[in-house]
């Protein structure tokens, strides 16, 4: 992490002064909204899973794949039609945390950089936001797996 910057007395005083006059993020309201919108997305996901199990003969384990694929498709389409960012302004974390949020980061970056061409634009920038999620996701999976192997080797669990 970067070192905490040293501010002069005058700067500290102003930052306090400004803070008192800034509208705050409405944390409680945002939490409720995130709970409702995230919950709706998950309910849709659950409905899809039941649908794939009952209508297409998937098992509870294999139904996850088509369910996630459907949610991703829906999120990408909503991003493309320019609706997703407006929903997200209302929903906050509710639309960012589920898989739809991840699909939105990739779709929005791809659309944004289409004007720089398919190779350097779309291809090069598609993972602009999603890249760090993947990088640290893979890394943490690696660390967890390493811990598990070590525990097993020394006779734990």
């Amino acid at each position: 992490m970067a070192k905490k910057k040293q501010f002069t007395k005058e700067q500290q005083k102003y930052q306090e002064f400004a803070k008192q006059r800034e509208p705050k993020r409405k944390v409680f309201k945002n939490c409720i909204r995130a709970f409702i919108s995230g919950g709706i997305i998950c309910t849709i996901g659950q409905a899809l899973q039941f649908f794939y199990i009952n209508s297409f003969g998937f098992t509870e384990k294999t139904a996850g794949d088509p369910t996630v694929a459907t949610l991703i498709l829906a999120s990408v389409l909503l991003t493309g039609f320019g609706v997703y960012d407006h929903i997200a302004q209302w929903a906050g974390a509710g639309t960012a945390v589920p898989v739809t949020g991840f699909a939105n980061t990739m779709a929005s970056a791809s659309i944004e950089h289409r004007s720089e061409g398919y190779v350097l634009g779309v291809g090069g920038n598609m993972f602009k936001l999603a890249g760090s999620v993947i990088a640290f996701g893979v890394f943490s999976a690696f660390v967890v797996a390493l811990l598990k192997i070590t525990f097993k080797a020394i006779g734990g669990m």
Partner: protein, 333 residues
Amino acid sequence: MLKGKQTWIFENKPVIIASAAVGGPFEAAGKLAQDFDILHDDIWLGQDSFEKAEKILLKEAAEKAIEKSGVKKEDINFFISGDLLNQIISSSFTARDLGIPYLGVFGACSSAMEGLAIAANLINSKSAIHTVSGASSHNAAAEKQFRYPTEYGSQKPPTAQWTVTGAGAAVLGQQGKGPKVTSATMGKVIDMGISDPFNMGAAMAPAAVDTIETHFKNMNLDPTYYDLIATGDLGQVGHTIAKDMFKEHGFKMPDSIFTDCGLLIFKKEQPVMAGGSGCGCSATVTFGHLLNRMRKGELKKILVIATGALLSPLSYQQKESIPCIAHAVSIEI
């Protein structure tokens, strides 16, 4: 003529012969739609990128201002312009199309007044007969460069501001009819350690306050001298802070004449959070709305203080705070 440390007085009174403002769909739905010369209903402006669209905005504003002034393009000595895109490409590419000798300026969102002050100085010192100065910004191009992809679903805080899609330009001359640029105070860079790019108003307010107080000190004037004192894009947050800072300093700034271009341009019900921002904000409001009101006789003396946040996406990622600047230009009829 220099007065005080940083104020220029233009004793030869450069005239704003004509000015023009161009805007996008969001501005067309705003409060000042009738003051735009050209309004577009598509943010792409028929181009295949937002950056190209911004160039069209600036080019149209410059050409419209030249057309309205009646001055031939060949008779304009200098084009002075600035914008927000890296290496001020909107301005330079417009200059390529216009074919007028060009001075590029960068003062972030303060570019419109920086350009106008330099233009007035050139005319005043007889280094130019006619100049055209302008500035532009494009909401989606700015979002793309400074923040996230436009379609990315991130929740913006209530302190965030909405970059204006628009451009404004003014033609100045040694002689003619119209409002005159009488003085300008060039600001110094002030950094109070605010580093949140979603809170530009709070970052820029101290710079605006410093330039305004310096202007009145150097000019030995009282704020009531002006009919209107408008900052560039402080928005609701910065405007409130600036007002309270004046109070704390014991500087008498009447509420009735102190306003902000970022608060004038959009309607309350538009989802712009704290208000408008961007080079295009002070440029379109000043060169469109405010000058129109002066020509109609509703305003006689105004002071516009364009405020700029001199950050880059890189400096923000490197955890730097946001240095800010403000330039004040006095226009009288």
